[in-house]
Point group: C3
Chain length 140, copies 3
């Protein structure tokens, strides 16, 4: 059995943000609770933002990941031809493919089986990305 939940996130600043609570709250509001055993996928319907899993504790990890990403995929590379949507656009597409468009997490005992230090990250790769649409799929 597969149930989909559509969730529109509010605007986030460029950078990495933990959205585990937003995902869990959307499941609770729509399903009451998660199944005892299952899988949860979160999919982002955009090509200039990403989803990944990383440390949920020290915010410095998110800061460093953003700094690193901006060096990894810099703006205004002289060979870029996809330039008319702004300096941040092509680097955002690159980061979207490097970090990925979805995360899939086991559900065990009615809870996301994340490790102690794991959280779900939204990677907002544009300066003014606006709100972002997610599809949460719960399989059981």
């Amino acid at each position: 059995m597969i149930t989909h939940i559509q969730l529109t996130l509010p605007r986030f600043n460029r950078g990495f943000h933990i959205i585990t609570d937003e995902i869990e709250r959307a499941c609770e509001e729509n399903l009451g609770r998660l199944p005892l055993d299952g899988m949860l996928q979160v999919f982002i319907q955009h090509t200039s933002a990403s989803l990944t899993i990383n440390e949920n504790a020290d915010p410095s990890v998110r800061v460093d990941l953003e700094s690193y990403s901006n060096k990894l995929a810099p703006e205004r590379e002289p060979y870029f031809i996809h330039t008319y949507e702004g300096d941040d656009d092509m680097p955002a597409h690159i980061k979207a493919s490097l970090y990925g468009s979805s995360v899939t997490i086991p559900i065990m005992n009615g809870r996301l089986a994340l490790g102690t230090w794991q959280g779900i990250y939204l990677g907002e790769h544009r300066d003014h990305g606006g709100s972002r649409n997610l599809v949460i799929s719960v399989m059981s």
Copy 2:
């Protein structure tokens, strides 16, 4: 219920290519139509090509992503020891792991729930990669 479809893609040149139509056509030919609610995974059975999701509109995104990837994982790095299969081989393995071997997309209302600007990309990372084998899995 899980149904697998094996699809052999024709040869593509090195670079990124949109294959959303090929995936949807294979589903239509094998299943008639997609389930109303479900999930679709596409998996590539190779280690020198990748699957990712990115912009389906302006072809310049695919050009820039290829240019970027070749700078990100350059050929003939002096420290490479896996060199006997050609200059393009080890960079192709690297790109395969950075971009990934599969994409998983929700199916809603009998259609892939891709965002307006999203398409499925084949990353062909070899100069002469030949045809590539995919497994499409439809879960409902």
Copy 3:
């Protein structure tokens, strides 16, 4: 139907390691055999190690992928602020997000539908990462 198997890997040295046999053995011990048709996901419950799919044959691919990764995400970057857990920590978080926390593979005819040259890699990105917890999910 979804069954989860928890598997604790022994310590591995920093670098990339093929763990396909460990995954298949855990399935055999817990399920007897894989379903005829299904999907298998492997999820790692850590943020400084990763899972990816790459060549299962020549060990030089794993050596080069490790060398490359250390250049891609170097230690002691002057802008890092997440530094108190050791020089290898922030690069490990970066690699975890670039390579990813899970792999999902079709099961066909009771076997993992990996390509001839594909194996499941553990990316151990810390110098002393210790044992690592995986969740294997079999869907059918």
